[in-house]
């Protein structure tokens, strides 16, 4: 396959391989390559390698251009952000980073230790509260997570806190009872005087195709409003977020790039696309 209106097979294979290696997945990779092939067929693109790569990067950035990437905050106290996701992806650490950036921008923040299950989960979050100057509310170990979040919201509103960030226990989306528990947590987090303005699903960049299933089930259960993609400082590219964005229309709002308090940034779509296909 060479010449005008044709793509060099080697270039095509390289771009396909880059996307597969980045966990973009077969269906989304096929869609992006089809679009590229059509653009070449319709003479909108030459078969030149760098032109093809740039086209692909623009397409990837476009796929990610969904929804509002700002973190939603309404006027007045009692905004609630709830963090959810499977085990070990970086929820608690992300809350620490959010506490830092929000207190830095002048907000009064309360952290709610909504993980009442895992060993030392509350201790872990408390250390982040201390580090960032955020207020901290926890319950007894094994307490109903909804009641901890309810207490934290009430406390936050009474203290005129702008923002209550609620942690939740890691849970696998295929565990029906745990997803039921999370639905209840969301209902309680949305109860006045709180205003639930973000439900952030944390996705680990090392996750393969299961990330899309996670996103589907968490969205179905608790209406996810945004994705935080963590551990992008590693070798994993997090390509599964393309399928998540395009299928579920959920914006990737933040990326985690380390374990430190400042290692959280808004997603830069072009930079992400650039790194994805190297």
């Amino acid at each position: 396959l060479r010449g005008k209106g044709r793509i060099d097979q080697q270039v095509y294979d390289q771009l396909e391989e880059a996307m597969i290696l980045a966990d973009v997945g077969i269906p989304t990779t096929a869609k992006l390559l089809d679009s590229m092939r059509n653009a070449v067929k319709e003479k909108k693109l030459s078969g030149d390698a760098s032109e093809l790569a740039n086209y692909l990067k623009d397409e990837i950035a476009a796929v990610l251009d969904v929804g509002d990437t700002e973190l939603s905050m309404e006027e007045g106290p009692g905004n609630v952000w709830l963090l959810v996701g499977v085990n070990g992806v970086g929820k608690t650490t992300t809350i620490g980073k959010l506490a830092h950036s929000e207190t830095r921008s002048g907000k009064k923040v309360v952290l709610a230790a909504g993980d009442t299950f895992r060993a030392a989960a509350a201790d872990q979050l408390e250390l982040w509260a201390k580090k960032t100057g955020a207020d901290f509310i926890k319950g007894a170990s094994g307490a109903d997570p909804s009641s901890v979040i309810f207490d934290a919201v009430r406390h936050g509103v009474a203290q005129e806190a702008d923002l209550i960030i609620a942690d939740s226990a890691g849970r696998l989306h295929n565990k029906a009872n745990l997803m039921e528990e999370l639905k209840k947590v969301r209902r309680v987090a949305a109860r006045p005087p709180g205003k639930l303005t973000e439900v952030l699903l944390v996705i680990d960049a090392t996750t393969g195709q299961n990330g899309l299933i996670q996103a589907r089930l968490f969205t179905e259960a608790v209406q996810v409003t945004g994705i935080v993609l963590t551990k992008l400082d590693g070798t994993a590219k997090g390509g599964i977020v393309l399928a998540i964005a395009s299928e579920l229309n959920i914006p990737i709002k933040l990326v985690g790039v380390g374990e430190g308090v400042e290692d959280l940034f808004p997603l830069d779509r072009e930079e992400f696309a650039e790194t994805l296909i190297g």
Binding site: E17, I20, L21, A22, D23, G25, I26, V86, N87, G88, V89, G90, G96, F117, R118, A119, A120, D123, Q124, L127, W128, L172, H173, N174, K175, D204, A205, T206, T207, G208, Q209, N210, G211, I213, K231, D233, G234, T235, A236, K237, I240, E259
Partner: protein
């Protein structure tokens, strides 16, 4: 499932003595897709397909199976063979304690697994000591202490540095007569040279009899990078696959097994301390194939 997918393609294959290379390629294309969808690493898929193709080219059509079923049978056997092989059986050091070191990426399940292994060894009649050498993560040592205390297991740590803690943990085990030492380490990125050097020095300090890479079953293509780097730095003895109670297909198991060439020693199947078991290659093979 995979068999149904192929029956469509294979319907047009008439009963001949052999399948044509074209027929085999078309079936293997679908297998390649299934493996990639299951998160098996691309390079591992390529090698796998090459090997299976060799077998298919010389296969005689079975009387009782369709060609598709026969090829899937080969694929299943090949997968099971790669995933299985030499079973890891813990053989205890003639001069105790037997030292076990766990390493892996952030959040993979190391701390929880250290406690599970502690209980597992205790059930085998051993006297383990858990060593909390993760001084980086907030409340990591506390996490291990709580898990340990819930299972009646001794935990050692001190706020010095990971290498010293590991070394002192070993001394403590010798002092009080613990015959198994299990060392928890901080999660780290395989490309973090400083932290990979740190875990290497922890290994040198305690000379583990078993070093396990702890890897999350939902890991995607990155599994090969992780396995390669940790194997090069630590010389792994085995793999522990975590969170298999999820619904990830688990292709990372094949990737890591292939790259490190070491047995999958255990799988963990939940958050409770008793949720650790031996690895069954046949089960994993059919899960990966979907």
């Amino acid at each position: 499932n995979l068999t149904d997918r192929f029956e469509g393609i294979v319907k047009k294959i008439k009963s001949k003595g052999r399948l044509s290379e074209e027929d085999i390629d078309s079936i293997l294309r679908d297998i390649r897709i299934a493996l990639l969808e299951a998160d098996v690493a691309l390079s591992v898929v390529q090698d796998f397909i090459t090997n299976v193709k060799q077998r298919c080219l010389s296969m005689e059509l079975s009387k009782s199976l369709t060609p598709a079923q026969q090829i899937i049978k080969y694929v299943n056997e090949e997968l099971t063979a790669i995933l299985g092989g030499e079973q890891l059986r813990i053989s205890y050091a003639p001069k105790p304690p037997t030292v076990i070191l766990l390493a892996g990426l952030q959040g993979s399940g190391k701390t929880t697994t250290v406690a599970k292994l502690g209980r597992w060894f205790k059930q085998q009649g051993r006297h383990p000591l858990l060593v909390g050498a993760d001084l980086a993560r907030p409340a990591a040592v506390e996490q291990l202490r709580i898990l340990g205390s819930e299972a009646g297991l001794a935990v050692f740590s001190e706020p010095t540095d990971p290498v010293s803690v590991a070394r002192r943990g070993l001394e403590e085990a010798l002092r009080v007569g613990r015959d198994v030492v299990i060392v928890d380490t901080a999660g780290r990125l395989s490309i973090d040279q400083v932290l990979m050097e740190e875990v290497r020095r922890v290994s040198v300090a305690v000379q583990p009899h078993y070093t396990f890479l702890v890897i999350d079953a939902m890991t995607g293509q990155d599994a090969v990078n992780t396995a390669k780097a940790f194997h090069e730095t630590l010389e792994l003895d085995g793999i522990i696959l975590t969170k298999v109670d999820g619904d990830a297909r688990g292709g990372a198991a094949l990737s890591v097994k292939q790259v490190a060439g070491k047995p999958i020693a255990f799988v963990t199947t939940g958050e409770k301390i008793n949720e650790i078991e031996t690895f069954y290659p046949e089960r994993m093979a059919s899960r990966i194939l979907g």
